[in-house]
Symmetry: C2
Subunit: 135 residues, 2 copies
Amino acid sequence: MMLMNNKEKLRKAGLRPTKQRMIIANILLNGINRHFTAENLQNEINSSGNSMSIATIYNCLKKFRNCGLIKQVESSKETAIFDTNIDQHHHFLDEETGELIDIENEEINLFKLPEIPKGYMNSGVEVLIKLKRQN
Amino acid sequence: MMLMNNKEKLRKAGLRPTKQRMIIANILLNGINRHFTAENLQNEINSSGNSMSIATIYNCLKKFRNCGLIKQVESSKETAIFDTNIDQHHHFLDEETGELIDIENEEINLFKLPEIPKGYMNSGVEVLIKLKRQN
DNA sequence: AAGTAGTTTAGAACGATTTCAAAGTAAAAA
DNA sequence: TTTTTACTTTGAAATCGTTCTAAACTACTT
Ligand SMILES: [Mn+2]
Ligand SMILES: [Mn+2]
Ligand SMILES: [Zn+2]
Ligand SMILES: [Zn+2]
């Protein structure tokens, strides 16, 4: 598990390890957690000496998300924000800048959760703590 | 307080009670909590026998939000979702349909919140419980 | 009543994302 | 290998939600 390379990760997820997907996997799946937009990613691809159509970037991000390799953050910003941290976790949100900061799952303790509506099951709990600058 | 009509609410919020704002206030500020998009609202305005430019609807929603008469929900949907429930509260999200269901603030108990980053203050906590259809 | 500042409007513009259809490539079959 | 097949990438056009523009309108003040 710890030793699986990106090509293997893509294969395991059922995705062909194309040149473009490998470029993106090499940027995103390196163990460093981050939040980013499609445009952020394109800039990184460009500065790594590669280039990629924005359509391909969106295609890949959607595939990666649907395979569970990345997540998309719930955000009321106009631009979609993705997250390489796929573990259940929470966020601080700087309302002024839109910056997100991870909160590890263990740092929040929820007790007394409401009853799940009939016919549904809990598929993940996310806590968002909004921040404003002090004073 | 309980007896304040919509015209007074707008005045108190510093907004001129124009014909258009009153039409929207009459739909939204009737004490029934709901989640809606700009398009949802336009449809309701139309079926109430009125009509309004979509630009005006966006203008109003932004003013109402900035005055605290409504809130905007954090959502990764492409379309902005607004909420007439301005009290701090939480949501169930049906991931399949995008439907939101309110959870009263008292129905969730958070203890052990993480330390707020230096220079910031907590400006609101929102819990999202994602739901998927059982089985 | 006249002045003014704020508001509404249709339509154009915008930015993010998706679609399109043609060309390219990875995997499977022969 | 070569051939075949299905999947992927691409740039350009299209779409969609939202904002901008500037002219007409209206609520409030004087
Ligand atoms: Mn969004
Ligand atoms: Mn948009
Ligand atoms: Zn995160
Ligand atoms: Zn709500």
